[in-house]
Amino acid sequence: MKKNKFESEGSKEHSFAVALPAVLWQILFLYLPLFFLIYISFVKTLDYAVLKNLTLQNYKTLIDFSYFKIISRSVALAFFNSLFCLILAYPIAYFLALRVKRLKNLFIFLLVLPFWTNFLVQAYAWFFILDNNGILNKFLLKVGIISSPLHILNTPLAIYIVMLFCYLPFMVLPIYSSMTKIDKYLLEASSDLGATSWQTLGHVTLPLSLSGIRNGFFLVLIPSFGEFVIPILLGGGKVMYVGSMISYFFLETKNVFLGAAFTCFSGFILILIALIVYILFRKLGK
């Protein structure tokens, strides 16, 4: 009996040790580096006097109008991209969840596909549409809406267009899944009681899909704040966004300390904005 207990104790330790790596991996390569990043944002050099050299110098350097402009540009991009995505995504999710009957799986699959494919490839594909000799300009010239090609590539407009369509599935899918959970009888009851389809939309569907809207909003807002590929490729790299600024610090000037401070500060702003949006959604839900 005693031996048996001893054995099971031993196997418990063994099983703990075997279960640990997954957790350790996350701690070692995500949480520890995160603390490390915050730490180096408060020092100017790395040495072994760990807590003595703490300084706010890096953050003081960041108090500059140009950095302020970059961060607010990314904030605007994140916010408006989420908003535009929502405007475009809501009718699509509504259509997929409550209207379409045939080929529903195909429609969903066609949305999931860009969700998982490479952003890089998608961004590159837009070159062929937006270029001065691209499909869009050719089409508009032929129809006669414009007389000379529009210069869209390498402007903020190009960034906004491509971001909108790249992030669209991130908004549609959560709204769609929240709409499929709506009880169909509620919608029927609403129309039986004399509500028009717009009234049903406003008073039943919209409040019940608010959680999906919120999830989608965060799914678009957070990654588009730090988006790196699309602004660099389609914006021509002329205007800096938070993502390109971070990579500039870390990969080009190799000023890790200032880069860390910039990353932490932008992260702080992002958390602040996410919090504000979260509170707004809670107010809307009431």
Partner: protein, 271 residues
Amino acid sequence: MELQGKISLKTRRSYRRGRAYLLPIFVGLVYLILYSPIIVLIVFSFNKNPLSFKWYGFTFDWYKQLFSSVEILDALKNSLIVAFSSVFLCITMALFYVFYGVSSFLNRLMVIFYGSLVAPEIVLAVCLLSIFTFFSIPLGLTTLIVGHTLIGLAYVVPIIKSSFLEMDYGLVEASMDLGATESQTFYKIVIPILSPAIISAALLVLIVSLDDFLISFFCAGASVLTLPMYIFSEIRSGATPVVNALSTLLLVVSSFLILILTAFKLRTRVF
């Protein structure tokens, strides 16, 4: 009066029917815009003229060049090494975590796996880069595998965990009661039962790893190139249709994997 009512109802209905086409047209238009760049990209990967946006004729040349380029084949090799290593590491660690961690406090630490999904990818990349440089770990395939495994775990652990919880735990108990050791139960009972979840999780990590650019861009260093990194550098230096061909192939591979994944998901209802 009654007639008038009927007419108005009829006109209202037809008015409604007219409006009912607006939504499908809108959705169709958005899908068209969503897919037109990709379609054009694929079409131009077969275009004879390398510089112009004009169609000059059909050719397979770019695909031939693709498979004869040493640089691309090397990038492909790197991408595959990283992807399969990450899949192996993610699945093994997640299975061990879910099965052996079920009775300890580790079980309640699920939240920590969501961290890498919530944070913007560039923050993860920068964190990894700074810790690698601090410990002077040379950047290369190893650091890439570390990064990809980190994001992979965030997908794999929840999938395997949820299907483990759905599994009849009586089977594990029965196996142990009948004298199987913990590891025998793990290999002979748990893994076969969880195999649908394991396969879809593995496919997901494969897709994520093959398509990942940002983590690779920061953690690969100067010597190692993966396929997305190659595409990025080519686009920045003025792309040739070879990049179109490569992008097309990458799209085909990911679509194929996603197709398997969704077919699998519909059949087994893993999620």
